[in-house]
Amino acid sequence: MKFRNKGFRRFGVGFILSWSLIPIYWVINTSFQTDAQISDTPSHLLPPTPGWANYKALLIGDGELPSLVRRSVINIFIECIAATAITVILASLAAYAFARMEFKGRKFFLFVVVMTMAFPTYTTLIPMYRIMAMLHLVNTYLGIILCYVSGFLPLATWILFSYMQSLPAAIEEAGSVDGASRMQVFRLIVLPLTMPAIASTAVITFLFAWAQFIFPLVLASDQSTQPLTVIVAAIQGRHVVPYSLLSTAGVIALSVPAVIALLTNRFIVSGLINGSVK
């Protein structure tokens, strides 16, 4: 019975890993082939003549496409890093307020913030677009970043709120007794204690921001602000699909979140657990 359970578990893990990793392997494999090799029958399980030609075609050189991709890489880093920083700062302040301050409607406002997580993203697309257009923030970094922040803030606030509530209030009270102001208590006591949750929140927010497509598609009118995810889709031609370049762009786009996920796996798991329980 024990053997059967173990075998079943191994099969399950193997199945899930295969389900997740085979498509990723295939896109990497494709990125090292030419378009002619890609359409060979049977398909190549390994690139017949592996080379960096597709990566060079996308990243190096003076052509339109490499400059577009390079610019989009810069854009996505700016937008993701800024959105992450602003989200974490605002979420930590909001979470602290909800966790420790006593004010009228505290539970109600917390409920409202958390409730927004249940809204489908697309329902806010047009209103956000209208708001950004009215504020003249369409096709600006700030417009895209603010949209990201508004979308990620509820989850970030909830994760940090859950964590802060688990901290012993006595430490903060001791700080207050010693004469520390509210902000000093927050900055010198709460924030250092909350660092593990802040790291988790930052990683999760960054990964969410990196994966965005529809909001930057609508809010970024040209290549000055379009992130990599939008440019990857734009590589697809109207009548001809350059599979090798498309796959290569996909690998570039997924490499950053993949590395971050591998390096910060611990924080992601703990952050999601914090967000799932109270």
């Binding site: 420790r100 009228k104 603010l146 889709a233």
Partner: protein, 439 residues
């Protein structure tokens, strides 16, 4: 149990305001974005930028600078819809696909082109302009005369002993069976049965070949009778899978994918509904094809002879919220000029050639290309363009996207064997009937 710490009203108010404001993403930060000059226009198309030298010439001649942005076609449609719904500017000139004309015209998302360009004078030189008219207004101007054509690999046909290429659908089917029977290729016909737009357009072209139309003037379906052209076309396509003329794997193959991986590799002998221009831009390009100089255009085999080619041209129009409609109109006039379109298609060297451009929408542009001998199959294509017809003679209905979705979903299911042709046609007809009656 944690003890809440009391705070002042000011701190509380600030915290609440901060949380709510940031959750809404509202900020007064950021300076208003103003265009650098009033004559810079934004052009957004599902195509790479025009050659820099040509754009520079346009700027020099008109003083209008063009800021070009490329998006993939599907994303661009999303963007057009989002901007129009939000009543917000996003471009001065952008894509108007033939299939969206009805929808765009009804919703008034684009400015009437006849207000800016003498469209009546254009009509004689631009056969597909009628596909862009709705309710008396011209929604966009076609810039790339894409139309559906039949392509055949003449070498594979010759190997099967077929020296006279087919002119009727019956002969065409017979020839494909001969190629299969002689095992020249295992699956001689390429039909993209993936549930996508390419399957719908394939059926439209095949319906035209069988001598009929898809919808009547009021939008009612003309394909539900088993004797109708649309019904016969659907049965012919599905039967082609069942009898092994089409690879079984084509159930999940999209149009461009089939052209690139089957026709361009000599695995299929023919594509009944191919893109005009594919011979020059795909099949005769050694880097992407193993059948160079083997594929040619074939006048669409019809019931009793050659049938019309149905058009699916790409157009350009001016969104209703454009900031510089006059300048955009000047650009569109220049962009759709016959001589410039001939240059885009390669009439005057690589520096003036627009990557991915197929075929001018103006007969005068094609005449220039033919004179220079710089287009493969130019004479044949020019004849096809002259005789091309609109998929919907009365204009694409406003509900086209929903109808097309029903077409490709049901035809895909019929080809996959999960429903009969009869059931698929019935379902497609029900959708058309419902949509055309406004329910």
């Amino acid at each position: 149990m944690l003890q809440a710490i009391k705070v002042s009203k000011g701190t509380k108010g600030a915290a609440i305001a901060l949380s709510v404001a940031s959750a809404l993403g509202v900020s007064s930060l950021g300076a208003p974005a103003k265009a650098a000059t009033p004559v810079t226009i934004s052009v957004v198309l599902a195509a790479p930028p025009l050659p820099a030298a040509m754009l520079a010439e346009f700027t020099k001649a008109t003083g209008i600078t063009v800021k070009w942005t490329q998006l993939d076609w599907d994303s661009l449609q999303t963007k057009i819809a989002a901007a129009a719904t939000a009543n917000t500017y996003f471009a001065d000139a952008t894509d108007v696909d033939w299939s969206r004309v009805g929808q765009l015209g009804k919703l008034n998302w684009f400015l009437p082109m006849e207000k800016y360009i003498d469209t009546k004078a254009l009509a004689a030189d631009m056969p597909q302009l009628s596909s862009f008219s709705k309710n008396g207004h011209v929604v966009g101007i076609p810039y790339d005369a894409s139309f559906m054509v039949t392509t055949v690999n003449k070498v594979l046909f010759a190997k099967a002993g077929i020296t006279k290429l087919p002119t009727t659908i019956d002969q065409y089917t017979k020839d494909l069976n001969t190629i299969k029977a002689k095992n020249i290729v295992q699956y001689p016909l390429n039909i993209p049965f993936a549930a996508a737009e390419g399957l719908s357009t394939y059926w439209y072209e095949t319906t035209g070949a069988f001598g009929g139309n898809i919808l009547d003037a009021t939008g009612k379906p003309l394909f539900t009778d088993p004797k109708s052209a649309g019904y016969k076309a659907a049965a012919w396509m599905v039967n082609a899978v069942k009898t092994g003329l089409v690879p079984p794997g084509n159930i999940n193959v999209a149009d461009s994918q089939g052209q690139q991986t089957l026709m361009a590799k000599g695995k299929s002998a023919s594509t009944f509904s191919d893109y005009s221009g594919n011979v020059g831009s795909l099949y005769d390009v050694p880097a992407s094809s193993s059948v160079v100089h083997q594929v040619q255009y074939l006048a669409t085999p019809g019931v009793t002879g050659t049938a019309a080619n149905l058009g699916n041209p790409d157009g350009i129009g001016i969104p209703a919220k454009a900031k510089n409609p006059e300048a955009a109109a000047k650009f569109i006039s220049w962009f759709t000029d016959g001589k410039n379109m001939a240059d885009f298609a390669g009439a005057n060297g690589i520096s003036r050639t627009w990557v991915g451009y197929f075929f001018p929408s103006r007969l005068s542009g094609i005449a220039i290309l033919n004179k220079k001998g710089s287009i493969i199959g130019g004479d044949v294509l020019a004849g096809m363009l002259t005789n091309s017809a609109a998929v919907f003679p009365q204009g694409a209905p406003a509900w086209y996207p929903e109808f097309s979705s029903a077409v490709y979903t049901n035809l895909h299911a019929a080809a996959a064997g999960t429903m009969t042709v009869e059931a698929a046609i019935k379902a497609m007809g029900a959708v058309a009937t419902k949509l055309s009656s406004g329910k």
